[in-house]
Amino acid sequence: MNKYDIILTLIILIIGITIFCLFKIGNNNPKEAIVYYDGDIVLKIDLSDHELRTYTIEGFNGDVVIETIDGKIRVVEEESPKHLCSIQGYISTSYESIICLPNKVVVEINDSIDVDTIVR
């Protein structure tokens, strides 16, 4: 490694950590999870509810089971070769997402929708 490599490593490290920190700063707006199948919204779930709830939607390879509790959401069961999105576990901020590529299912969290209602 020469000095240019070290400079490059430091630059990438700083960029990475900066973006990581920006992503970690959450806000306390009411959160809503949006579930997409093949680009279309199939489910909207209010995450301010602290009860354990499960939802089942249809994915490309079969049923996808989604669970919410305490403002967090995760995929519990799905049909795919590597089960990456059920291994991933819970997400709780708008800067995280669950992507089940084989099932064409995306779970996103939106925390800016209700700002207008609060202002009103």
Binding site: M1, Y4, G16, I17, I19, K82, Q88, S97, I99
Partner: protein, 163 residues
């Protein structure tokens, strides 16, 4: 093409295919963190880039993607397109960086690793028509450093035996 070069390139291609498939079988680097892989095949690609040149490494890289597609993940499957976009972006960025900057093989490897993942994120975003794939950006940027350094050092060691 002289026979010696032809034979060597064929063997290197076979090596990169094997490394790619073996890597998919090792559970730790199997993508447990989405999008993060060791990128062992990149050792061979880097080696070819430094030993022979850009055209040869581009050829090895693309042929590897098609061969792994046929042998392992399925031709024109999602995994195939992820691999293809990553490979193209990675080899082009490495070629440019090697040509126009003073970075050593390790720096070139980090850039390759970074752009390989970036190419995959872009394809996921296109396939799903959703920007949420870019949420994986920080993890991918941070993991590109250790994986890039590792493959870079390995290629560097390998090159010593061929000079």
């Amino acid at each position: 093409m002289e026979t010696r070069k032809f034979t060597r390139l064929s063997m290197l291609l076979a090596l990169s295919v094997v490394l790619n498939i073996v890597e998919n079988m090792v559970p730790l680097f199997n993508g447990t963190v989405p999008g993060v892989k060791l990128g062992l095949a990149n050792i061979v690609i880097l080696f070819v880039l430094y030993q022979y040149g850009f055209k040869e490494s581009l050829f090895i890289s693309l042929t590897r993607v098609f061969l792994v597609g046929i042998l392992h993940s399925g031709l024109f499957s999602i995994a195939f397109f992820l691999s293809l976009s990553g490979a193209i972006l990675s080899i082009i960025s490495m070629g440019l960086i090697k040509r126009f900057t003073k970075l050593s093989i390790v720096g070139v490897s980090i850039i390759g690793s970074l752009f390989h993942s970036l190419g995959q994120i872009i394809v996921v975003a296109i396939l799903l028509n959703s920007m949420s794939a870019f949420n994986y950006l920080p993890i991918i940027i941070l993991f590109a450093i250790p994986t890039g350094i590792l493959t870079g050092i390995m290629s560097k060691e390998l090159l010593k035996y061929f000079d």
